[in-house]
Amino acid sequence: MSLLGEAHEDHTEFNWGRQTGVGGPNKDFIFYGSFTHGGVEYFLYDCVYMWRDNELDIGKIVKIWETPRHSKKVKVVWFFRPIEIRQWLGDVEPLWNEIFLASGEGNGLCNCNPLPFFFLPDGHDNLRSAMCSDLAALTSSWRCGIEAICGKCNVVCTSKDKRNPQPSKENLRMADFIFNRTFDVARCTISPIFPDVIAESEGPSYSSNIWFAVKHFFNRERDQKLITSEGGANLKGKIANPSSFVKVEGVTAMRNPMKDGKFDMSPKPAAKDKAEMKRVDDLSPTSLSDELHKRKRVHFSIEEHSNGVKGSKSDNQPQDITRRPAVSWMEKLKSAYERGTLVLLENLDPSYTSSEVEDIVWSAFKEMGEAKMVPRCTLSSPHHGQAFFIFKSVDAAERAISELKEKCLMLSNGRPLVGRKGCLVEPNDATSFVGHIAINKLKKQKQKAEWKIAVSTSHYSQPNTIEYDMALEWLVLQERSKLRWDALNKQHAEEIEQLRSQLKTHHNT
């Protein structure tokens, strides 16, 4: 809301820029190449922030005009943020400031928005009623709502397409967002291939089937800055052939000439101010937000730790230890714990297997025993693995622990083995599970068979139920905790790397 507040002071300040033509059935639609609003001049093909409910969207102005009724409209092609199309992202992992250009035909591609109506001071509801009548019929399930232009946005295209001039490092650093892929709204696919034209679907009667050359979406030529209102020079550059482009007469499809400017992006721009990104995204990181400077969704690879696993096994090969089924492991663990022979080994490489751990213990301590690597789950750190080891005798266990404490056993990935007394938590009967709610009064009814079946059926939650809303809250919580863990793991990884680099002698890494 603060943006809307700032706009209040400027809401009377609106000026048209250069007129570029007329159109419409009665030639009473006037098209412009730019307008000034709130002290900022917006040109055609500028990327702007649009305000919708409580979210900012990014779009590219592709047309500016005034209707015969003197309402001011602007047509905007959207960029999708990864969160909006995450259903179709699949394996694709976008960068933190990557957005996707909408292409193809269909809803969600662009919207017509009236202009200074947004800046009425009487609050949101009036805005809505004023603008509903003016909204084009293009709103779709992704893009319904109200838009308001609240500022310019620096979007740079990093596509390797030949038509796209590659951006300079400076451009990249100054960029708020980058894009190098399109999202086809009809087919719901992401592709790095830019079609020749970015089409708009059927618009209001006076402007339909307008095609925009993809050139307009690529970067501009190098000598033109992106966020600048340097008057005529930029304007001329942007609209190469104003006459053929803007004169929309009747219902004709036009091909726009290719512009010279293209957007380019190289893969990883430097970290930038994250305040907007944080606000824009639904899931904001929590207490570890300082660590989340670069919220790249790159999964942590543990390759750096596991690719050094080489070397030779000791000459004393242990005998083959047959694997016993996991069921009896709990009992073994319990009994070992009671006897005091259970040792928890830490700082192992997570890719080790239980048998490798046994080999390690054998070659280091000349002790036999059974090992079990703790399998990794979402909570465990990707950097170090743990294993339970059951020694044959209490003495052996004690000796091993004390030796590990006093001396250092370095493993080949540069990490010393840490051992301590293993401990188990007493299991208690599980009757309740945090997060599963039941209405107490219905419990009596639940004894009936149908109820039992109903509850125990696994199902997708339907969007019109309370259950769905609550489930979404849980999802948010889960995502947040995942982010926290990612940040923590990242921090740990850095600390580990720091220490490792200090190792003076390298052991076969």
Partner: protein, 200 residues
């Protein structure tokens, strides 16, 4: 040859990993048959394996590995469940699903061609101090991780409590409305005030 067999084993294991889906946030009451029937809706399940939880209390969320027929099915499942909340055995906490990774499997085979060395360091070795620091670091990391874990658990409990309260309150309201409608109070009041909707 032994190494050839090892490699074949490992390749087979990798293939299995690709077909497997890791499910988290399961209630501890969920057993294998429930899981199987839950995922049967999507396709053929080869195997369901719970990841044993050695160091945790038993009302913690469990996790399991579900092996499907094909990697595409696994991927589809992961995608679908990441977007829509899926409930197993209770509401409204949804399960979380992601692609399985090799370290999650208890019985994984050794990666062929890897060898490990270990070396005892003497205190004179210049790396000794660094190794000690490493040990401390491990301890610290473990503490940080357990702290985060605790925090997460608290958050989850709070959310659950909050949701339970909301649900109770809503249910009470529904009950109230239903009661009023049933015993004729609404009808009488409606008649009195000239509102006729309750005459149904």
């Amino acid at each position: 040859m032994d190494s050839v067999k090892a490699e074949a084993d490992y390749a087979a294991f990798e293939e299995r990993v690709r077909r497997t889906v890791y499910v988290d946030n399961l209630s501890p009451q969920v057993n294998e048959s429930i899981l199987k029937s839950a995922f049967d809706q999507f396709g053929n399940i080869c195997k369901v394996e719970f990841i044993a939880n050695y160091a945790e209390e038993s009302n913690m969320p469990r996790c399991a590995l579900v092996e499907m027929d094909s990697p595409e099915l696994a991927k589809e499942l992961v995608q679908a469940m990441s977007n829509q909340p899926f409930m197993i055995f209770g509401m409204p906490r949804p399960v979380r699903v992601c692609a399985a990774e090799m370290e999650m499997f208890e019985d994984r085979p050794q990666k062929p061609g890897t060898k490990i060395t270990c070396q005892w360091l003497e205190p004179q070795n210049p790396d000794f101090t660094i190794a000690n620091k490493f040990k401390e670091l491990t301890g610290r990391h473990a503490a940080e991780a357990s702290f985060l874990h605790q925090y997460q658990l608290e958050e989850e409990e709070n959310l659950a409590k909050q949701q339970a309260e909301t649900l109770e309150a809503n249910y009470k309201k529904y009950e109230l409305i239903e009661k009023v409608l049933k015993d004729g109070t609404a009808k009488r009041l409606g008649h009195r005030y000239g509102i006729n909707e309750f005459n149904a």
